[in-house]
């Protein structure tokens, strides 16, 4: 499998805190890679370094061979990266349709180039896939929690990107919503999208991930198949906050 996005030795410190230390990753096309680890492991910081929201102290990242460190977030997005946020960051006072349409419009000028009908069709298809068509005129701020989560996914879908960075997209969803969300990801994977998922719900991770990278304190401690990672007692202990083995060592 080719990897449209690769990063090598990414590092970032905040004052004396080393948030990310030499993280290397490859996101293959048509595969789901999960970033797993306890809170504060540096997972979201890795996303922010890739998307240009934070500047890396060290390391490189490339999209289809093109270096992206130093690019602005909008420039990285235009190379085919779509991301979601833990806190969703919906356009709260806009309705659902405009939220999704906005994801199809990249120009900042008074007008958009390209095919307007194609953009409208992409937005409608994204709303249909996420079950939001009936809520197209509702303001984002008025949606229920699960609907907001799906609106965030609809924006990702409509953007037409082939690299998805999803930050806790399934947190707080009930079982049926989680299954619908899982199907969206499986469909995207089948289309060849490279997906990177930060997720604390291990059931979701096991169900969807092809590979897992386990982060702790900014380091990738292990990388491999879900079963391999999930069955490692040391990683499980770190994940659940038990660091007694470190004291023993």
């Amino acid at each position: 499998m080719s990897a449209p996005l690769t990063c090598e030795g990414l590092a970032r410190s905040f004052g004396g805190v080393k948030a990310v230390q030499g993280v290397s990753l490859a996101l293959p096309a048509g595969a789901v890679t999960a970033l797993v680890g306890p809170n504060g492991a540096g997972k979201t910081t890795v996303f922010n370094l890739i998307t240009g929201n934070l500047k890396a102290d060290e390391g490189t990242a490339q999209i289809r061979g093109r270096p992206i460190i130093g690019l602005k977030p909008w420039q990285v997005a235009r190379l085919g990266v779509a991301r979601s946020f833990q806190d969703l960051r919906l356009f709260t006072q806009m309705n659902v349709r405009d939220n999704v349409l906005a994801a199809t419009e990249r120009g900042a000028w008074f007008w958009q180039g390209g095919d307007k009908r194609a953009r409208l069709a992409a937005a409608e298809a994204a709303m249909e896939a996420t079950g939001l068509t009936a809520l197209a005129e509702a303001r984002a701020v008025d949606l229920a929690y699960a609907e907001r989560k799906f609106l965030s996914m609809a924006r990702i879908l409509a953007a037409g990107a082939d690299i998805w960075l999803l930050d806790e997209p399934a947190s707080g969803l009930d079982l049926s919503s989680r299954l619908r969300f899982g199907q969206l990801l499986k469909d995207a994977r089948a289309r060849g999208v490279a997906i990177c998922l930060i997720e604390h719900n291990l059931d979701v991770v096991v169900d969807l991930a092809d590979r897992i990278a386990f982060l702790d304190r900014g380091l990738v401690l292990a990388e491999g198949a879900p079963k391999e990672i999930m069955n490692d007692p040391k990683l499980a202990a770190i994940y659940f906050g038990d660091r007694s083995h470190e004291v023993a060592a």
Partner: protein, 291 residues
């Protein structure tokens, strides 16, 4: 009496332009500027200089005023790209102070404290024309342009930036370009209002472009309703008509009209914020969640 109402209507149309253009920045792009009077002033001085030194052609005066105000709006756009919210308000306040000093000191262009006088009446093909129809025409065109932009992709981009700037950027939108364009458009509109003001009054000086003026225009936007098309216009009508209406109340001594006006303004603003916090024409559910 006709001249009185014609003058009032002209001022309402000119301040209507100021209010709807400021609303474009505040209501759609979320850029809270308290320096709109600076660009009103730039437009007024530019329009006056064109009328005094080139020709009293209102279209030429408005075009030059829009160009100068639009280009110099970069002074406002630059801080808007770096800071948001109350920090930007402070930055625009600084710009207002600096500009006011420059207006007073650059006497060769502005006439200093004394201002520019004897600005000729506007003429088209040698015929003198009133400023009222020109101001109404400009206001109508601006309202049409704002309506078209607000309902199109540019308006969506600005509203997206207002609601969640980082998410808009993550969608591939160059936020800096969109903000700079919004500021340039709004300030160019203020420049047009300034040129019309200079041609209407035949005299401009720094007193018309103070912080008080910027705050008055902001009050028009808030009273009418931010992010609405006609709200700021309603705000302009109300806030400019009030002093005139009070002058008709004969039981208020002329010397006290100013104080009574301030009391009424204060009371009206307080009641408005309690009962219609989104402005007279604003969506009262704005900012609230019903989920």
């Amino acid at each position: 009496m006709i001249a009185y109402f014609s003058n009032l209507a002209t001022l309402v149309a000119i301040f209507g332009i100021l209010a709807v253009t400021l609303n474009f920045m505040v209501g759609f792009a979320g850029i809270f500027s308290v320096a709109h009077a600076v660009f009103f002033g730039l437009g007024a001085y530019a329009g006056a200089q064109i009328a005094l030194t080139v020709a009293p052609n209102p279209f030429l005066a408005c075009a030059v005023a829009a160009l100068i105000a639009g280009v110099l709006s970069l002074c406002l756009a630059l801080p808007a790209l770096r800071v948001r919210g109350e920090y930007f308000v402070a930055a625009s306040l600084g710009l207002q102070m600096v500009a006011l000093t420059l207006f007073s000191e650059v006497k060769s262009l502005t006439g200093g404290i004394g201002g520019l006088t004897n600005i000729p009446r506007p003429q088209i093909f040698g015929m003198e024309v009133g400023v009222l129809p020109l101001a109404l025409l400009a206001l109508g065109l601006l309202l049409w342009a704002i309506h078209a932009m607000a309902n199109g992709s540019f308006g969506r981009t600005l509203k997206a930036i207002r609601d969640a700037e980082s998410a808009a950027e993550a969608m591939g939108k160059p936020v800096a370009v969109a903000k700079a364009l919004a500021v340039a458009f709004a300030c160019a509109g203020a420049g047009v209002a300034g040129a019309l003001f200079a041609l209407h009054m035949s005299f401009v000086n720094v007193e018309s472009f103070t912080l008080d003026q910027s705050v008055l225009v902001m009050a028009m936007v808030i009273v009418g309703g931010t992010g609405t098309l006609f709200g700021p216009l309603v705000g302009a009508v109300l806030l400019l008509s009030l002093p005139s209406a009070l002058s008709f109340l004969t039981f208020i001594p002329p010397t006290e009209v100013g104080s009574v006006q301030q009391i009424i303004y204060g009371l009206a603003m307080t009641l408005l914020m309690v009962f219609r916090p989104a402005g007279l024409l604003g969506d009262q559910n704005k900012g609230k969640s019903h989920a």
